[in-house]
């Protein structure tokens, strides 16, 4: 993938997308209430939220398909008052994108390349390169109507890249793909950010994939941002705000499950031990809340439990604190606002 040369001085203007106080309503319902966030070049931003949170509205506003009622945004230095210029600098894979079934992949990319101002031969060359980038070089000459869902998502991403965009918006790109397809697409998204130095806004419901791919996250609920920052920061803040350390999960070999349960029963401050994955050997350990949310004491408590298992010579295959995953924070934050 060609690395894009940024036109802005990265120190002076490190952010390639800045949105301030964007608002939009549909009749009496406020779809967006003061959306403010920014995105830097080469980073992937996870845009999260339950259904109806305002994700698609945000994407449509930022991609100039829809106008905000209030607020402002700037992409690559171009203010939102110049939508045509912004469209030259962004690439978009909308959710539920339709495709012309009678066009081949290369025709599709050539056509869109020309609409962005390339000559026919330039657009075709660029299209062939993009087909290679998204792994469709073997099927570029087939009709899009004959493509699988995964291939259509790939050609959709290739289309989003025909103008060598500064910011790429991907709305549910892995929806309906099998696990291998999902992983390949996530790898592609990371390559777009790192090799092209483009900013990527990734809308997704699959929080595990966001956690694995994104550098930053914005969590929306009912049109408001409820969390914003790097993935680590958001999870950390989530852990501070909610006392979730009362439950741990430990994975041991299935042959050692009985012994591990015995050891844990003898360990102080443990209220209950439950086997939650018989085949995998996952044990859920519920603690007596003796630390009152004190992080340092929590860590000591965790270490004592692990120490007891190690002293009993039980191998530890996995260890998890409930609340340490983005999904836990997401569910907690969105639930809070709904309440």
């Amino acid at each position: 993938m060609p690395k894009r040369k940024t036109s802005l001085d990265s120190n002076s203007y490190p952010e390639i997308l800045v949105a301030e106080n964007l608002c939009k309503s549909y009749g009496p319902r406020q779809a967006l209430q003061g959306l403010t966030f920014s995105l830097k070049a080469g980073r992937v931003l996870g845009f999260l939220g339950p259904n109806g949170a305002g994700k698609t509205t945000s994407i449509r506003i930022l991609t100039t398909i829809m106008e905000p009622e209030a607020g402002h945004f700037v992409i690559d230095g171009i203010p939102s008052e110049h939508p045509e210029e912004i469209r030259r600098r962004i690439g978009v894979l909308p959710e539920n994108l339709g495709f012309p079934r009678q066009m081949t992949g290369i025709e599709y990319l050539t056509y869109y390349g020309q609409l962005y101002g390339r000559t026919a031969s330039q657009a075709r060359q660029n299209g062939l390169k993009l087909l290679e980038d998204v792994g469709l070089q073997q099927r570029g000459r087939s009709l899009i109507g004959s493509y699988s869902h995964g291939m259509r998502q790939r050609i959709g991403i290739a289309r989003a890249l025909v103008n060598d965009p500064v910011v790429v918006f991907l709305d549910e790109p892995t929806l309906g793909l099998d696990p291998r397809g999902q992983q390949e697409l996530l790898d592609l998204i990371q390559r777009i950010a790192h090799e092209r130095n483009a900013g990527v806004v990734l809308c997704s419901h699959l929080l595990s994939e966001v956690e694995g791919v994104c550098d930053d996250v914005v969590i929306l609920n009912l049109g408001r941002i409820v969390a914003r920052g790097s993935v680590g920061e958001v999870i950390g803040r989530g852990q501070q705000n909610i006392i979730l350390q009362n439950t741990l999960r430990v994975q041991v070999p299935s042959a050692s499950v009985t012994k591990a349960r015995q050891v844990l029963k003898e360990t102080p401050n443990i209220m209950k031990v439950t086997l939650i994955g018989e085949m995998e050997g996952w044990l859920q350990i519920e603690l007596i809340n003796a630390t009152n949310g004190n992080a340092e004491k929590d860590i000591q408590m965790n270490n004592k439990i692990l120490g007891a298992l190690i002293r009993a010579k039980i191998p530890i295959l996995g260890f998890e604190i409930e609340g340490s995953r983005l999904q836990d924070v997401f569910l907690h934050l969105t639930e809070e606002v709904i309440k």
Binding site: S7, L8, S12, Y13, E15, V18, E20, S38, R60, T63, T64, I65, M66, H72, F73, V74, D76, G77, I78, P79, H82, E84, E85, R87, R88, I90, V92, P94, N96, L97, G98, F99, P100, Q102, M103, T104, G105, I106, E107, T110, Y111, Y112, Q114, L115, Y116, G117, R118, T119, A120, R124, G140, R141, S142, L143, R159
Partner: protein, 474 residues
């Protein structure tokens, strides 16, 4: 100072329009053209169109009644129908052009490009209009064969091209406007078809548009007005100068719809928006209007009331006829004379002598005297006391069967709120025996050959496309 204020300082200097090798309207037009024709939609519609025209030509030639229509009328009827079908196709393609893309979720990716919205509209409009030149070329052989060497062919081709172009431009524009404001293709089709039906019904029933109001309605209806113009110019030998004003409404429709499209086109959006609800209501209103119009037209055809007949007065005119019965073959003509005499004591009022033909079979099939005779009525200004006037009549026996021909003298009512008593003659009992012509005018090769030719073209296009894909896509 916020980040936004910082970047705004340099923003404008970064804005420059990329140099595009080809304008967006041309790219969209070319793409839409390929989708429409190579994708098969236009070819399918054209195939159906050619089959319809072939069927019409066949009926005009083989149907014993219609085959006796003079070439001028046959050419006019074919041209009228070809234009009506082409307008319908243009309207339907226009109606699908934007709302169809919304439904198929392909509009968003087009709107996400820097292509100017107005240029997108222009490209799509030109592609939708492309159906007309093809439809017109296909109609030419049919017009040629129906003209049977008559001089009407040249003006028919000229005015067909001009009026058809104007009408299809207008109808395609209307279809696109409907599509522009419709949130779904279903709504767009429904409203477009409603508009088409609303304009088609009065155009196909010109006889109902009597009186100044009726004439005005016909004049403002683009389809009806153009039909009237073509009918007068091609069939009745009337000059263009006399009737050119009848083209006004079609020109206004074409120019108006295009201008509105260009004006609103810059606001092309992914969702039809709040206007779509209003549009859906408008659609329902149009649907109700169509039904109401049909009911009104049907009710206007009811016979005059008994009250009107009761006020009739008896004039002193008498009519006689010189034939009692006749047996002929379908396609033959009969000639007879009628004589009207004023047996009164004063000069007669002006009157009309009208011919009527009644089918005597049990089914009571309706006979249209206009199809049977070019001299349906004769007008007489006055008849002096004792004076007689004789008319020679020709009747073409179109359909086999048992008929009664009779004549009626209709004195002109003396004032607006009075009526008069018609006087009927003795009837002529006419028996028509069957006769069928085979392949008159060499029509069959055209009627069957054109659709087959189009099928071959479709096959070749599909095969060419497959070869192109096999050879490397674009």
């Amino acid at each position: 100072m916020s980040d936004i204020q910082n970047v705004k300082k340099v923003a404008i200097s970064k804005i420059k329009v990329s140099e595009s090798t080809l304008p967006a309207w041309w790219l969209v037009f070319r793409r839409e053209l390929i989708d429409l024709w190579i994708g098969g939609k236009a070819f399918n519609l054209i195939l159906i169109y050619s089959i319809l025209l072939g069927g019409m030509v066949y009926v005009y030639s083989f149907n014993t009644e219609l085959s006796l229509i003079p070439p001028r009328e046959a050419v006019y009827e074919m041209l009228k129908n070809a234009m009506a079908v082409a307008m319908f196709v243009g309207l339907i393609i226009g109606a699908d052009s934007l709302s169809g893309e919304r439904d198929r979720a392909t509009l968003e990716s087009l709107l996400l490009t820097p292509a100017n919205r107005r240029q997108i509209i222009v490209g799509k409009f030109l592609a939708a209009f492309s159906i007309w030149p093809a439809a017109y070329v296909i109609a030419i052989p049919y017009l040629y064969v129906l003209a049977q060497g008559n001089e009407v062919l040249a003006p028919a081709l000229l005015w067909g091209a001009i009026t058809g172009t104007v009408l299809v431009l207008g109808y395609t524009g209307v279809g696109m406007l409907v599509s522009f404001w419709s949130s779904s293709n279903k709504v767009s089709y429904f409203i477009s078809l409603g508009i088409y039906a609303l304009l088609l019904v009065p155009a196909e029933l010109p006889g109902k548009s009597a009186g100044a109001a009726g004439q005005f309605l016909q004049w403002i209806n683009p389809m009806a007005a153009v039909n009237h113009f073509l009918s007068k110019h091609l069939v009745n030998y009337r000059s263009v100068a006399e009737f050119w004003t009848w083209l006004t409404s079609s020109v206004v429709l074409a120019v108006g719809s295009l201008m509105v499209l260009l004006i609103v086109g810059s606001g092309l959006r992914l969702e039809a928006g709040r206007g779509s609800k209003l549009w859906a209501k408008l659609g329902r209103a149009i649907g109700v209007s169509v039904i109401t119009t049909l009911i009104l037209i049907a009710s206007s055809a009811l016979p005059t009331t008994a009250h009107q007949l009761a006020t009739a007065t008896e004039p002193p005119l008498q009519i006689s006829i010189d034939m009692e019965y006749k047996t002929v073959r379908a396609g033959d003509s009969i000639f007879f004379n009628t004589s009207v005499t004023n047996n009164g004591i004063v000069e007669s009022v002006s009157f009309i002598v009208a011919m009527n033909i009644i089918n005597l079979d049990a089914q009571g099939e309706v006979v249209d005297p206009e199809d049977w005779s070019p001299q349906r009525t004769q007008y007489v200004e006055h008849l002096a006391v004792g004076e007689s006037i004789t008319f020679k009549w020709r009747v073409n026996a179109i359909l086999d069967g048992d008929y009664m021909i009779y004549m009626v003298v209709l004195p002109e009512p003396e004032q607006q709120d009075a009526t008069s008593q018609p006087i009927a003659s003795q009837g002529i009992h006419l028996t028509v025996t069957p006769f069928t012509k085979l392949n008159p005018g060499g029509v069959l090769p055209f009627a069957i050959g054109t659709p087959i030719l189009i099928l071959i073209i479709i096959y070749l296009v599909i095969r060419g496309r497959r070869k192109q894909i096999d050879a490397g896509g674009s």
